[in-house]
Amino acid sequence: MTGALPRPPRFRLAPYIEFAKKAMAREATYRFDVFTTVGSFVVRVYLLRMVWTALYAHNAAPQDLSRHAIITYSTVALLMGIVMDIDQTRALNDKLRDGSIATDFMKPINVPLYFFADGTGEVLFHAALLVPSVLIALLIFHIIVPAPAVLAAFLLSFFFGYLVGFFLNFILNCTSFWTLEISAVQLIVTWLTDLLGGELIPLILFPALLQQFIYVLPFAAMFSTPLLIYVGQIPPTRYLEVMGLQVAWIAVLGLISTVMWRAGARRVVVQGG
């Protein structure tokens, strides 16, 4: 007996890419989803325009947010929603409900990474839906496109916001380890995110009192931060500050996710799902 530890199997990326591809194909089979996503996007932008137009017609406009700017804000928010408003790690909840999670633990794969790959596959498919939507937004709705540097900052911030959302979603799905009926909780969080994340209404329009504490919440990190960068309400001098906050949330939520995952996985292995 030599006493040397066996080397862990070499990490292979291939199976995870397969998982992602499967998720994409799965989403693609729902013919309706494709047309309805883009269709619903168009309709909602039209609605937004009419709402803001009516509001700006009869009231004093806020200083630095023109009607066109706010419509751009809302349109870009909807674009972000196409990619972010999906339950990326839904597979986790599904598998916990029907018990198939046990077989996943028996496979030689990193289970959380599997869910990440699966979720990414779904998201990538929806990202493909972004292409026609962005084109429509640009050519038909004429949204404002900021300077390349600002756009780059926006994209980076969007990516951070996506990660915040991912971990939040993961944490929610992890609660399925302990209680199966999470749909109500998920929906509650969804609605809160919509309101407090600045997806529906720019946070800068909130009454001053509320603004103090809303900006600190993770919801703002998901939508409001990148959106306010996009429309120029957050100047480049503050980029480090706001993106730093996003990263802080990623770290916190990532940590909570890890802890919950470990606890939950242990529970499955010990209790047998």
């Binding site: 591809k21 994409m24 194909a25 693609a28 089979t29 013919r31 494709v34 047309f35």
Partner: protein
């Protein structure tokens, strides 16, 4: 008295053709291709009141499609169908009042509620007079041993208990005909027997016509004197179970255990070596051309034997052969 008449029944489905892979899935978003599938092709049969019939066939043969037409779920593409004098697809509700259905894979009981509540609701749906309802409930509770779990929520019942509940539920309104779709699937031996006893009893005591669809051929052997075999949408056999066995069950297997390891050229005239493992050789023969006794004698003339046994054809083998080889009365090839 004919209770079910089916003549030239035909059902054709249009299906969307899907190409595999991601490219195919995206392609399907823009255009769709169709193909026609004939699920039931010219099926005819008649059932008399009180008969107990097995309706068999491999998966995809058209069994469930036929049952769906009989129960009024599906409208036939063409052909004549009458159940208790009613055309099911034309008078769905009237037909529904006459029939009971047990789907083995799916329960009609309400999951979250005690069994009793499901029965109560079904009583109102089928409008069963109170007296008759109580009478039936008492009777079924007794023979199916339901008393114990009448007040247990259905989701807590074992498969066997739930199945017994489903049977009672199907019979509550004294249907003239019951359709049983895989009623014993997943049950243990004891539960299966209980269900079979029940089926036999309701058929005998109440004259209920029973159509049984099953893959468990033991059900067939125990219950149905008549079987209808369907394959690729067509009836390939309709008659007594016994006749099928005598006519088709001509193939037997003689299993011999040799004293020494059998040589590679082990052979016996009149029989075919169908398999061998160590000292055991399986010899297939046609009992019409060679009796078992004669074959054993031939084997003994050539080899030293320590043990023999004969495998009789069971329904399973017979039916499987029919699926594979197609039904031809004199077909089973005589061995060389």
């Amino acid at each position: 008295m004919a209770i079910i008449e089916a003549a030239d029944l035909r059902k054709v489905f249009r299906r969307v053709v899907r190409q595999p892979g991601i490219a195919g899935a995206i392609g399907a978003l823009f255009s769709r291709q169709y193909e026609d599938k004939v699920a039931v092709d010219d099926v005819s049969f008649g059932l008399n009141e009180g008969e107990l019939v097995g309706y068999l066939g491999p998966n995809g043969a058209g069994k469930s499609t036929t049952i769906k037409m009989l129960t009024g779920i599906l409208v036939p593409t063409s052909g004549l169908l009458r159940v208790a004098g009613i055309v099911p697809s034309a008078h769905r509700q009237a037909n529904a009042q006459n029939i009971g259905v047990v789907f083995g894979q799916r329960s009609q009981l309400y999951w979250d509620l005690p069994l009793r509540e499901s029965f109560e609701l079904l009583r109102s749906i089928y409008d069963v007079p109170r007296e008759r309802y109580l009478q039936n409930m008492r009777h079924f509770a007794e023979i199916l041993d339901l008393e114990r779990f009448l007040d247990t929520p259905v989701r807590q019942l074992s498969l066997g208990e739930r199945m017994r509940g489903d049977f009672a539920a199907a019979m509550l309104h004294d249907p003239k005909i019951v359709y049983l779709d895989e009623p014993t699937i997943g049950l243990d031996v004891v539960a299966k027997e209980a269900i079979r006893v029940f089926i036999s009893q309701i058929n005998r005591e109440r004259g209920t016509t029973v159509i049984l669809t099953t893959h468990d051929l033991a059900d067939v052997e125990r219950l149905t004197p008549r079987i209808i075999l369907i394959d690729e949408g067509r009836v390939i056999y309709d008659g007594a179970l016994e006749r099928l066995r005598t006519e088709y069950g001509t193939h037997r297997i003689l299993v011999v255990t040799t004293v020494d390891l059998p040589p590679d050229d082990f052979a016996v005239p009149g029989a075919v070596v169908e398999g061998r493992e160590n000292n055991i050789v399986r010899l297939g023969f046609d009992r019409r051309s060679l009796t078992a006794e004669a074959l054993i004698r031939r084997v003994l003339e050539r080899y030293a034997i320590s043990d023999v046994s004969i495998i009789e054809p069971d329904i399973d083998t017979i039916v499987r052969r029919i699926y594979l080889e197609g039904y031809q009365k004199d077909a089973v090839g005589a061995p060389s």
